[in-house]
């Protein structure tokens, strides 16, 4: 199980930045498609808030993956 925990750690490390890149692409696409004026500002605001909150979460996923890869979860306080 510990080998699996470490191996999946690498996947989480990759998944963090991948999800953020995907969100940036979506943000640019959707903001670009929005009609000029308030609608564009509104779409930009929505995506700005989402990126603002998801960048630290994705960073957290990378840290989680790093901890898993380094074996931090091999032994938990309850084990």
């Amino acid at each position: 199980m510990n080998v699996l925990k470490k191996a999946l750690g690498l996947l989480w490390i990759v998944l963090g930045p991948t999800s953020i890149i995907f969100m940036f692409i979506q943000a640019f696409e959707k903001i670009g498609l929005a009609p000029e004026g308030v609608a564009k500002t509104n779409t930009a605001l929505q995506w700005g808030i989402i990126l603002f909150i998801f960048i630290p979460i994705s960073t957290g996923l990378v840290v989680f993956g790093y901890y898993a890869f380094k074996g931090e979860y091999d032994k938990l306080p309850e084990d």
């Binding site: 989480w12 979506q26 808030i49 989402i50 909150i53 938990l76 309850e78």
Partner: protein, 508 residues
């Protein structure tokens, strides 16, 4: 130090904590449920400006302010105690809800109206971020070790109970007053009513004592000096915060929001069910499923928290698409034949002509009742062009009222989804409380809870709509978001979580 906390009946503790948390959820949900009416009354008629303020109110309150409230009040709760902190959140939530009900309309005070709504909505988000962790921690710290799941599960019923109460009061007020009066001023009643509920709850909570575990910590001088630093900069604790988020609350959040919000939105907006029908279905589903929060919370004391929560996620991953396909199939009236029609009322025709051209728009609405008992309105919109281009005809269906057997089938499907909510949500308070030591518990458990629920759960409608905008998508494509997040959380939870209770070396 007083030994009073130990004498206090656990049921008084549960009652006082649950009532306050239920009212906080009620306050938070009535805004969402009445967003359309609030928009019409308090926001400018200009759709663009209105949408902008709405975005700030919904996105900022749910996604930024809620986790921020978790940090602010979590820190306070670990420094000065649970009782006074969650008393403060209750006052903030009740006060801001009451004040929303008093805001004059946009036609009276102009832009001050939506700005006041925005400010009060942000205060609501802040207060909600602080309330849950306090209530869960407070009850858990009174509960015996072997019944923590059972006792904290009562707190878990409050989110669903608050939704039930908000829907019930709105439907009741609207039915008593009539739709017109309700839209005019009656929508303020559910907001104003909050002050009574909060007043009672504050009175009860004032009589409660501080949690025995926090009191002991304070007596021994072991209260954390800097809960934020201890929670998030120490690897031993921070890794558990991350595990709680990615292995539990993230999946729990999407299951919660899909079962209770996305389901209703899907029935109303995609299946085009009647306003009351979609709400009654949800109300029955909630009423039947709510006791299971306590069942699963209690069961988790015996078999552990992990696999009950993960089973709820797995069942959601497997069954969401088949359930929503049934919703679509059973409300599809586009292929109804004339033999199936029992009664077709006199069509109502409206004619609208554009100012600058002689293009004319005709809408023909016909109320149709089928032999099966189902009824709906068929709307045919025809455009006749001045230029001589071929006329266009668009047919839509709305205000569908289901036949009794289909109605109860839908109640059963909603019940099943809320049953999954009770599986993931019933044991999670005990799970989170046990994951962290007393001195930084309020701070440490509040953040993953509100990121999981507020951000991952709260984004279900937005991301589902985003996915539905991709080319080749179907009405069910939006479900890939909750399914994907629940699957990710299930894998992380299954691989990394332990089914045993952590030992923090504390003597209780």
């Amino acid at each position: 130090m007083s030994q009073e906390p130990q004498k206090t009946s656990i049921f008084k503790v549960i009652g006082a904590s649950s009532l306050g948390t239920l009212i906080e959820w009620y306050d938070f949900y009535i805004f969402g449920s009445l967003a359309t009416i609030i928009g019409a009354q308090l926001f400018p008629a200009d759709a663009g400006a209105s949408a902008l303020i709405n975005t700030l109110a919904i996105f900022a309150a749910g996604f930024i302010v809620r986790p921020f409230g978790a940090l602010v009040f979590g820190r306070l709760g670990d420094l000065i105690g649970r009782k006074y902190t969650f008393l403060l959140t209750l006052v903030l939530m009740g006060g801001s809800t009451f004040l929303i009900g008093l805001i004059p309309s946009y036609s009276s005070i102009g832009y001050a109206a939506p700005i006041l709504v925005l400010i009060l909505r942000l205060v609501q988000g802040l207060a909600l971020g602080g309330e849950y962790g306090g209530a869960a921690t407070y009850v858990a710290e009174h509960a015996p070790d072997n019944k923590r799941g059972f006792f904290t599960s009562w707190i878990q019923t409050t989110a669903t109970g608050g939704l039930f109460l908000s829907l019930g009061i709105i439907v009741l007020t609207k039915n008593i007053m009539g739709a017109e009066d309700f839209a005019d001023w009656g929508w303020r009643i559910p907001f104003l009513l909050s002050i009574l509920l909060v007043g009672v709850s504050i009175y009860i909570r004032m009589k409660m004592h501080e949690s025995p575990m926090f009191t002991k910590l304070k007596t021994e001088g072991n209260v954390s000096k800097n809960p934020l630093k201890e929670s998030f900069s120490r690897k031993a604790n921070f890794k558990m915060v991350l595990l709680a988020l990615f292995g539990a609350t993230m999946g729990q959040g999407v299951i919660w929001y899909t079962g209770q919000f996305y389901a209703q939105s899907f029935l109303e907006n995609t299946c085009k069910l009647d306003f009351n029908d979609s709400r009654y279905i949800l109300l029955w589903g909630i009423a039947f499923a709510t006791p299971f929060f306590v069942v699963f919370g209690s069961w988790s004391d015996k078999v552990g928290r992990k696999w009950i929560m993960l089973t709820g996620m797995l069942l959601g991953i497997i069954f969401y698409r088949p359930i929503y396909q049934i919703f679509l199939d059973d409300t599809d009236v586009s292929k109804v034949s004339t033999e199936q029609v029992l009664k077709s009322e006199q069509p109502v025709v409206k004619r609208i002509s554009a100012d600058a051209t002689t293009d004319v728009l005709y809408t023909t609405s016909t109320r149709i009742t089928l032999i099966s008992g189902m009824s709906y309105t068929k709307v045919q919109t025809a455009t006749k062009y001045e230029s001589g281009s071929p006329d266009t005809l668009v047919t839509t269906y709305k205000d569908k009222v289901l036949a009794a057997p289909v109605f109860w089938k839908f109640v059963a499907l909603i019940f099943f989804q809320i049953l999954l909510v009770t599986m993931v949500y019933g044991p999670i308070a005990a799970f989170l409380v046990e994951l962290f030591p007393t001195k930084i518990r309020y701070t440490s458990m509040s953040l993953p809870y509100h990121v999981g629920n507020g951000v991952f759960g709260g984004l279900v409608p937005f991301i589902a709509t985003l996915i539905a905008s991709f080319s080749g998508s179907t009405p069910l494509s939006g479900l890939w978001y909750p399914i994907g997040i629940a699957a990710l959380s299930f894998i992380i939870g299954a691989v990394y979580l332990s089914n045993k209770k952590p030992d923090h070396g504390e003597v209780e």
